[in-house]
């Protein structure tokens, strides 16, 4: 079992699964790249992939389609991207948010300078797939593969907000295993995909566990003496029915600037609470 952030010895600092980037916390305006050819984006990216092993995760927030966002709170959380880098190779997993969950992740592999879209069946040259026309994938891949601030704001030529990106450096020991092809679909709690989701307590894929049926009225010891109780297994089933979706959970944390959203500008309406 891994230790809690701080044990009785008091020697550890709070950490969680993430080590937040110390590169910077200021919001940085970065002109949005024109929708240039994906091959050009990839050529520029491969030249900048660091050699040392490292991993990070980005949360992408965009204005709703057809709208203009005045601030980050007007954007929607649309995707997560997890990136692993090793010896100049790179694995990028992009997972879109739906209103009630997450889409399957798109897995992009850079192997010795060549780019592929990885599926359970094969690795296909990315420029031969539909992903070459995907605006989100192009934006993610156009981002800096090296150092970057915790928060960056992308604007268009007129200065309008087009995207806000949160970056968290992951405490994930990148190895060749992250890049290895797996037989069959990857489990949700495996490798980078788990880091991509980043919310273990919400994982809803655990097999339900059958419970022995309570045996009618129970006599239970309490601090005040013995009491008779009729167990309520239906109550437990009701309790188990509250599966939280990832988008709902992320919106909840962003609203109050709970980590990792503490890197965003303060909430404008309830600034006191966000501070």
């Amino acid at each position: 079992m891994r230790p809690l952030p701080l044990t009785r010895s008091g020697s550890r600092r709070p950490l969680g699964a993430l080590v937040l980037s110390v590169v910077g916390v200021a919001v940085m305006a970065v002109p949005l790249l024109a929708m240039e050819d994906l091959s050009q984006i990839l050529a520029e990216r491969v030249a900048e992939i660091p050699a040392e092993p490292r991993a990070y995760r980005e949360t992408w927030m965009l204005p709703a389609e057809g709208t203009v966002a005045a601030s980050v709170d007007d954007t929607e959380i649309v995707a997560r991207a997890a990136v692993a880098q090793l010896d100049g190779d790179e694995l990028v997993e992009i997972q879109r948010f739906r209103s009630d969950g997450l889409d399957e992740a798109a897995t992009i592999l850079c192997d010795d300078g060549r780019w592929y879209l990885r599926t359970p069946m094969a690795d296909s040259p990315i420029l031969e797939t539909a992903l070459r026309e995907d605006p989100l994938a192009r934006m993610v891949l156009a981002g800096p593969p090296g150092e970057a601030p915790r928060t960056r704001t992308l604007t268009d030529d007129q200065g309008a907000l087009r995207a806000v990106v949160l970056r968290e450096v992951l405490d994930h020991p990148v190895t060749a295993d992250d890049f290895a092809r797996r037989e069959g679909p990857m489990e949700a709690d495996e490798g980078l995909l788990a880091e991509l989701r980043g919310i273990d307590p919400l994982r809803g894929d655990r097999q339900p566990v059958a419970s022995a049926a309570p045996k009618g009225v129970e006599e239970i010891e309490t601090y005040d003496g013995k009491v008779r109780v009729v167990p309520d297994p239906q109550g437990v089933e009701w309790m188990e029915s509250f599966a939280l979706s990832v988008p709902e959970f992320e919106r909840f944390r962003r609203e109050m600037r709970l980590p990792p959203y503490d890197a965003l500008p303060p909430v404008t309406v309830t600034a006191k609470e966000g501070s």
Partner: protein, 291 residues
């Protein structure tokens, strides 16, 4: 020649869960008896005892969940659940936020509100966490709720109830010879074990377990981004009404409030990177049942 009652000694040591002492006893017995046969017998007993100890001291996670689920049904039956979807969803969101800071894998936490004026919170193995309506009523902000839930999550993380079940099961369930195993595949045994856990839950965990959960819970809630004084402020807010809060402070099993506050104060200087989020307005808007 002096004869060591090895089986008795080994059984006693095993009952105390003392593996290093067990090894020491084997060494001592070997030295004192001085015969190879006796040493082999002792070694054999040691291996049997060790095998059983391993079985008892390591209840698998899926069995912990099963036990915890049955205990949760008894908790829900004793008090009743507040069947308010909006409130329960809110408590789940706060709890999940705290739980993200708990690195223990394999626990899917569930949260619910118990329909009682009593000020209380409790958790069963496997991640079933409860807070009472009475406790919500005396809280002022989301950080206080997060602090109480973090305390309960810490109990689950440290497996306090599970360890207590293991200790008590050695004397209550299937403990006749070292050949007996705690057969959790047997529904009746599982039920007995769950009852043992429920009794402990309602009587109260031990002082050290509570203080450990206070320390760890405070660290957890800080890592989750909330004001780390939430649990401390909750304890301070308890008005001492004996009918509502007697379980929390200064009874036979729980430490005095001052001792709990001191435990939290040990941790606070190390986790207070900033003020953290209070979310008082959001809490006030969502705390009360809608129906």
């Amino acid at each position: 020649m002096r004869r060591i009652p090895s089986v008795l000694v080994l059984s006693l040591l095993l009952a105390l869960g003392c593996r290093s002492a067990l090894n020491e006893a084997v060494q001592t017995a070997t030295t004192l008896t001085g015969t190879q046969d006796q040493a082999e017998q002792v070694q054999e007993k040691k291996e049997e005892a060790q095998e059983l100890a391993n079985a008892l001291l390591d209840i698998p996670v899926d069995r912990q969940i099963q036990i915890g689920r049955e205990m949760a049904a008894t908790v829900a039956g004793r008090y009743g659940l507040v069947r308010d979807e909006a409130l329960t969803r809110y408590v789940n969101l706060v709890g999940a936020t705290v739980a993200t800071a708990d690195p223990r894998p394999g626990v899917l936490y569930r949260f619910a509100v118990l329909d009682t004026d009593e000020v209380n919170a409790m958790a069963t193995p496997g991640g079933y966490v409860f807070v009472t309506r009475g406790a919500l009523e005396i809280m002022e902000d989301e950080a206080m709720l997060a602090g109480v839930l973090a305390h309960e999550i810490a109990h689950v993380h440290h497996e306090h109830i599970t360890r207590e079940i293991e200790r008590r099961s050695r004397t209550q369930v299937g403990w006749k010879t070292t050949k007996d195993k705690l057969n959790l595949e047997d529904d009746d045994v599982l039920h007995q074990v769950a009852t043992t856990g429920t009794n402990k839950l309602f009587v109260g965990l031990g002082r050290e377990d509570e203080l450990e959960a206070d320390r760890s819970g405070t660290a957890l809630v800080a890592a989750a981004g909330y004001d780390p004084t939430g649990l401390r402020r909750f304890l301070e807010a308890l008005d001492g009404d004996p009918d509502r809060v007697h379980w929390l402070l200064g009874n036979d099993v729980h430490p005095e409030r001052g001792e709990r506050l001191s435990a939290i104060d040990e941790v606070l200087p190390e986790v207070e990177a900033g003020p953290g989020v209070l979310a008082a307005e959001r809490f006030r808007g969502r705390r009360s049942p809608q129906s």
